[in-house]
C-alpha cells in the first residue's frame, strides 16, 4: 500500500523540518511550477493537510469521469500520483538539508564536576566555533547555491516524471487503436475462413484452398492476442505513471485515437540553441561549478585552521573550610598545521573545480547537440506521420475502392477483396505507429527543450508500411 507509507514519509519529512521556518516547500513547488509551466501548468503542490488531500481526490475523480486526454493526464498525475508527492517531499528534505549548511553551529556548553578529596570543582565552558562565525557569509552563500541545486533537481525530477507519463499515455492510446485494427484484420480473416469452410462444404474449394484461408485466420488470431496484451501492458504502464489505485484504474477511460498531428511542426527557431542557457541541466552544471569554486577556500580553511573560543568559569568548593573560589577566563583551540600544510587537499580541490568547469562545458555543448538531435527526431516523426496521413493511407484507400469496383465487375473474387482489406488495415496500423512515434518525439523534444532529455523516439518505422503484407497477415 504505497499511499499510507508515502504519507508517513511526507509527514515525517514535515515533522523533521517543522522547526525550519526558512524552507518554504510551497514556495519551492511554486518555483518548480513556474520553471516547468509547460509541464505542470502550475498545478503541482505538496499535499499535507486533509483538505489538500480531499481536493486532490476530488480533482482526480473529476478527471477520471471523462476520457482522459493528454493534458488531463498530466493534471491527473500531478494531483494523484503518490510518486510525484514523494518526489516533492524528498525535494523538501533536500532543500532543508541544503539550508542547514548556511547556519552557525550552536554554541557548546560544557560542564565539569570534579571532586578531589574535600574539594569539588565545577567547570563551565561556553565555546563557539570561531571559524564558523567568520565564514558565515561564505557558508550562507554556499547553502543558497545548494538550495538552488535542490530546487533544480526537484524541477528536473518533476519534468522527467511528467514526460514519461506523457509518453506512457501516447503508448496506451496507440496500443488501444492498434488493438481495434488487429480486431478488424482478425474479423476479415475470420470471414475468409468461414466462407472457405462453406466453399469446401459446397464442393467449390479443395482442402488446400480452404486451409490457406484458415491459416490467415489462425495467424490473425495470434496477432490479435499479442495486440491485446500490448494494449493491456501499455495501459498498465500508464496506470502506474498516473499512480492510480485499483478503483481508479477501473474508471480510467482513454480517447479512441491519438490527437491529430499539429498543422505545422514546431520551427527550428522555436527550438534554437538560444535557450540553452535556460536549460535545467546547464543551470545545474553552472551551480555546481559555482559551488566548487566558492567552497574551495572555505573547505581548505576549515580543514587547516580549526579554531574555537570559549568563556570559562570554574568554581572550586572546599568542603574542609567551606570556602569557594571562582576562576574566569577564556580559552582558544587552534589546530597547528605542522604535518599537513594542505597541499594534497588543495590539489584535490583544484582538480574538483577543474572537473566541475569541464562538466559545465560538456553539458553546454551536449545540450545544443541534444536539441538538434531531438528536433531531427521530432521533425522526421512529423514528416513521416504526415506522409502516412496524406499519402500512404489515401493511396491505400484508393486501392481499396478500386478493388471493390473490380470485385463488382467480377474481375476479382471475395477472397482477394478480403485479403486486400487486410493489407489496407496493415497500412493504417503503420500510420498509427507513425503518429505514435510523432507524439513520443514531441514529448521527448519538450523535455529536451527544458533540459531533461528523454531517450529520443525511434525515427525508423516500427514495421514495413508501404507493402503492408507483413502487417496484414
Amino acid at each position: 500500500m504505497p499511499i499510507p507509507s508515502l504519507r508517513i514519509t511526507a509527514l515525517a519529512a514535515a515533522a523533521l523540518l517543522a522547526g525550519c521556518a526558512t524552507v518554504d516547500i510551497d514556495q519551492a513547488v511554486g518555483q518548480t511550477n513556474e520553471t516547468a509551466a509547460g509541464f505542470t501548468q502550475g498545478r503541482l503542490e505538496l499535499s499535507r493537510t486533509a483538505q489538500q488531500q480531499e481536493r486532490r481526490e476530488r480533482l482526480a475523480q473529476q478527471l477520471l469521469a471523462e476520457p482522459l486526454g493528454q493534458a488531463e493526464a498530466v493534471q491527473l498525475a500531478l494531483a494523484n500520483s503518490p510518486a510525484l508527492q514523494a518526489l516533492v517531499a524528498q525535494g523538501w528534505s533536500d532543500l532543508a538539508t541544503a539550508a542547514q549548511g548556511g547556519r552557525i553551529a550552536n554554541p557548546v556548553f560544557s560542564f565539569e564536576r570534579v571532586r578531589s578529596g574535600s574539594e569539588l570543582e565545577i567547570g563551565r565552558l561556553l565555546s563557539f566555533g570561531l571559524l564558523d562565525l567568520l565564514t558565515l557569509p561564505q557558508r550562507a552563500s554556499l547553502a543558497r547555491n545548494q538550495s538552488a541545486q535542490a530546487q533544480l533537481q526537484l524541477t528536473r525530477d518533476v519534468v522527467d516524471q511528467v514526460s514519461q507519463m506523457r509518453q506512457a499515455w501516447v503508448r496506451a492510446v496507440a496500443a488501444q487503436q492498434q488493438l481495434d485494427y488487429a480486431g478488424q484484420v482478425n474479423r476479415s480473416a475470420q470471414a475468409s475462413a468461414e466462407l472457405a469452410r462453406r466453399m469446401q462444404a459446397a464442393g467449390n474449394f479443395s482442402k488446400l484452398q480452404r486451409a490457406r484461408q484458415q491459416a490467415f485466420h489462425a495467424d490473425a488470431t495470434a496477432q490479435l492476442a499479442t495486440a491485446q496484451h500490448a494494449a493491456t501492458a501499455a495501459r498498465e504502464e500508464l496506470v502506474r505513471r498516473l499512480g492510480l489505485s485499483d478503483a481508479q484504474a477501473a474508471q480510467l477511460r482513454l480517447p479512441d485515437r491519438l490527437p491529430e498531428l499539429p498543422a505545422q511542426p514546431r520551427t527550428p527557431a522555436e527550438v534554437s540553441a538560444a535557450a540553452v542557457d535556460q536549460r535545467l541541466d546547464v543551470r545545474m552544471a553552472r551551480l555546481q561549478l559555482d559551488a566548487a569554486g566558492r567552497s574551495q577556500g572555505l573547505d581548505l580553511l576549515t580543514a587547516l585552521v580549526d579554531t574555537e573560543v570559549g568563556i570559562r568559569r570554574d568554581t572550586q568548593f572546599d568542603n574542609a573550610d567551606g570556602s569557594r573560589r571562582t576562576a574566569r577566563g577564556w580559552e582558544a583551540d587552534i589546530r597547528l598545521p605542522l604535518f599537513d600544510w594542505g597541499g594534497a587537499r588543495r590539489a584535490a580541490m583544484d582538480a574538483q573545480s577543474l572537473a566541475a568547469a569541464h562538466r559545465h562545458d560538456d553539458t553546454v555543448r551536449a545540450a545544443s547537440s541534444q536539441l538538434r538531435e531531438g528536433y531531427s527526431a521530432y521533425r522526421t516523426a512529423w514528416d513521416r506521420a504526415r506522409h502516412y496521413r496524406d499519402e500512404i493511407v489515401p493511396l491505400r484507400k484508393t486501392i481499396s475502392e478500386e478493388n471493390v469496383l473490380r470485385y463488382n465487375g467480377m474481375l476479382i473474387g471475395v477472397f482477394e477483396l478480403l485479403a486486400d482489406h487486410r493489407e489496407q488495415v496493415g497500412a493504417v496500423v503503420a500510420a498509427i505507429d507513425a503518429q505514435q512515434a510523432f507524439w513520443l518525439a514531441d514529448a521527448a523534444l519538450s523535455a529536451s527543450l527544458i533540459g531533461q532529455p528523454l531517450a529520443a523516439a525511434p525515427a525508423t518505422p516500427l514495421r514495413s508500411a508501404a507493402t503492408g503484407e507483413a502487417a496484414a497477415h
Binding site: E194, R198, A202, V404, Y407, N408, G409, L411, H421
Partner: protein, 476 residues
C-alpha cells in the same frame, strides 16, 4: 459523322490528322487527301462513284475508304496512326489504326483493278502493310526486311499492284506485327468479281468484319501488347457487345457475312435460326460441291470465311462466337466459383469491414448482369446489353441478325426489337408437372466402372432452386 464527302471536293478541313507536323506538306500535296473517320458507327454502303461497278459491302461498325481515279489507277491513302476507338459506349481504347479508327477502312476494288495505295506512317515506329491473300509482285507483299524497307515514321510509301483475284481479304502490318496487331492495326479488303462469276452469286446484303482480341486492364486504356493468349476482350471490328451494331436485313434477302480472324485463337461463328454455307475462304470462292449446310463454322487464326444464307425467318437472331468466354467482356478468370455457398452472416461481417460489398455468384453469375454496380473507370461490364425481355447477359463477339419483312431494300437502319406474333414466345407452364423420368444408375449396360478398394463413393449433390434448403443441405 463520316467525312468522306470531303474527299473528292478536297475541302481540306478534315479531322485533325492531316496537319501532322511529322509529314511533309509538300509530299502530302501530291497524294489523295486522306479521309478520316471519327465515329465507330456502321456507315452505309459506298456506291462506287467511278471505275467498274460492283455491289458494295457494309462494314460492321466501320466504313469503306473512298478512292481517287488517277489515269485509270485507283488511288487510296491509308494513314497509320494512333487512334481512340470507342469499343462500347463509355469504354474507349487507345489503339493504333488507320485513318482515325481501328480497324482501318475497308478497301473495295474490282477484279482487274490497278490499285495504288499510299501508306503514310504517323506511328512512333516504322511499319509496313501486308496485303493478306493477294496475288501481287513479291516486292509489294509488305514483309519488312524480306521484301521491303520499313516505312519510317513520317514517311509515305506506295504499294501498287493489280487486284487479280476476286475474294475476301485483309491487310495488316508485317513489321513489329505482334505489337501493331495487338494495338489494333488491321483492315478488311474485298475484291469484287468483274461481271458475273460462276462461283460468286450476287447478294442483297454483304456484311464484313474482322475478329480481333485485346488485353486491356480494366480501368486502363491501352492494350497490353505482350499478351500471347490471355486476352480479355474479343471483338468484331474492335467493338464489344453491346457496342456492336446489329445486322439488319429484309426478309428473304440473300445475305453474305464475311469474317476474318486476326486473333490468336479460332472462333466458331454460330448463327441462330438459319443454316448457311461457306461460299468462300481467303483462297477464293469454294466450289459448290465442297459446300455443305452448317449453323456454326470455325474460323481459324489468320483465316477468312464467307457465309451465305437466305434470311427467310423473321426475328432477332443471335450471331456469335460459340466460345462462351468470347461472349464476355473483361472478367477475372481466377474468381472462385461461389455457386451454392451460403453467404449469410459472413456477409454481415464483410460489409462491416467493406461497406460497399455485395454478394455475387452465390446463385451463378447473372447477378452481374442484373446489378448495375460501379466499375473501375473505362471498363465495360463483363456482360450487358438490354433486350426486350431484359438483360442479354452477353459481351464480346455477339451481335444480332435482325430479319424484318418491312425492312426496305438497301436500308440498313436498325429496326426496333422484333414484335413476336402471339403465341410464338416461350411461355411459363402453370399446370401440374408429371413425374419426370430419372436416369438409371451408372454402369448400366456398358462395362461397370472400376472402383479402387477402400475408396468411398463421392456423394454428388445437385443443387436445385426451390428446394426446402436452397443451399444444398450442408449444415452450418
Amino acid at each position: 459523322m463520316n467525312s468522306r464527302r470531303h474527299f473528292l471536293t478536297g475541302a481540306g478541313a478534315i479531322t485533325g490528322a492531316v496537319a501532322a507536323a511529322s509529314v511533309s506538306r509538300v509530299a502530302m500535296a501530291a497524294l489523295p487527301e486522306p479521309v478520316i473517320q471519327d465515329q465507330p458507327d456502321t456507315a452505309p454502303p459506298l456506291a462506287p462513284p467511278n471505275g467498274r461497278p460492283y455491289d458494295p459491302v457494309v462494314t460492321l461498325n466501320g466504313w469503306t475508304l473512298p478512292w481517287r481515279m488517277n489515269a485509270g489507277v485507283k488511288e487510296f491513302h491509308l494513314v497509320a496512326e494512333p487512334v481512340v476507338r470507342e469499343m462500347a459506349p463509355g469504354f474507349k481504347a487507345h489503339l493504333w489504326g488507320y485513318n482515325g479508327q481501328s480497324p482501318g477502312p475497308t478497301i473495295e476494288v474490282v477484279e482487274g483493278d490497278r490499285v495504288r495505295i499510299f501508306v503514310t506512317n504517323k506511328l512512333p515506329e516504322h511499319t509496313t502493310i501486308h496485303w493478306h491473300g493477294q496475288r501481287l509482285p513479291n516486292g509489294m507483299d509488305g514483309v519488312v526486311g524480306l521484301t521491303q524497307k520499313p516505312i519510317p515514321p513520317g514517311k509515305t510509301f506506295v504499294y501498287e499492284f493489280t487486284a487479280r483475284r476476286p475474294g475476301t481479304f485483309m491487310y495488316h502490318p508485317h513489321a513489329d506485327e505482334m505489337v501493331q496487331m495487338a494495338m489494333g492495326m488491321m483492315g478488311f479488303w474485298v475484291t469484287h468479281p468483274k461481271g458475273r462469276h460462276p462461283l460468286i452469286e450476287p447478294v442483297d446484303r454483304d456484311f464484313v468484319f474482322l475478329m480481333s482480341s485485346f488485353d486491356i486492364e480494366p480501368g486502363s486504356y491501352t492494350p497490353k501488347v505482350m499478351t500471347m493468349l490471355d486476352f480479355n476482350l474479343f471483338t468484331f471490328n474492335s467493338r464489344i457487345f453491346p457496342g456492336i451494331a446489329s445486322m439488319n436485313v429484309r426478309k428473304g434477302d440473300r445475305v453474305r457475312i464475311r469474317a476474318g480472324n486476326l486473333t490468336m485463337t479460332n472462333h466458331p461463328l454460330h448463327l441462330h435460326g438459319h443454316e448457311f454455307t461457306v461460299t468462300g475462304t481467303d483462297g477464293g470462292p469454294t466450289p459448290p460441291a465442297a459446300r455443305w449446310p452448317e449453323v456454326t463454322t470455325d474460323v481459324a487464326v489468320g483465316q477468312m470465311r464467307q457465309l451465305e444464307f437466305v434470311a427467310d425467318e423473321e426475328g432477332d437472331w443471335a450471331f456469335h462466337c460459340h466460345k462462351s468466354h468470347h461472349t464476355m467482356n473483361a472478367m477475372g478468370h481466377g474468381v472462385p466459383t461461389m455457386i451454392g455457398v451460403d453467404h449469410r452472416k459472413v456477409v454481415k461481417e464483410i460489409t462491416d469491414l467493406i461497406p460497399d460489398y455485395m454478394v455475387m455468384g452465390e446463385r451463378g453469375m447473372s447477378d452481374m448482369a442484373e446489378m448495375e454496380m460501379p466499375l473501375p473507370d473505362n471498363t465495360a461490364p463483363m456482360m450487358a446489353g438490354q433486350g426486350p425481355f431484359g438483360s442479354l447477359e452477353m459481351g464480346g463477339m455477339f451481335t444480332v441478325l435482325k430479319v424484318r419483312r418491312e425492312q426496305p431494300p438497301g436500308d440498313y437502319r436498325n429496326p426496333d426489337w422484333y414484335k413476336h406474333p402471339a403465341g410464338t414466345v416461350a411461355w411459363e407452364f402453370t399446370g401440374s408437372l408429371p413425374a419426370s423420368p430419372r436416369a438409371p444408375a451408372a454402369g448400366n449396360g456398358a462395362a461397370p466402372p472400376h472402383r479402387p478398394a477402400g475408396k468411398q463413393d463421392v456423394e454428388v449433390r445437385v443443387r436445385k432452386p426451390g428446394a426446402a434448403n436452397p443451399h444444398g443441405g450442408h449444415d452450418h
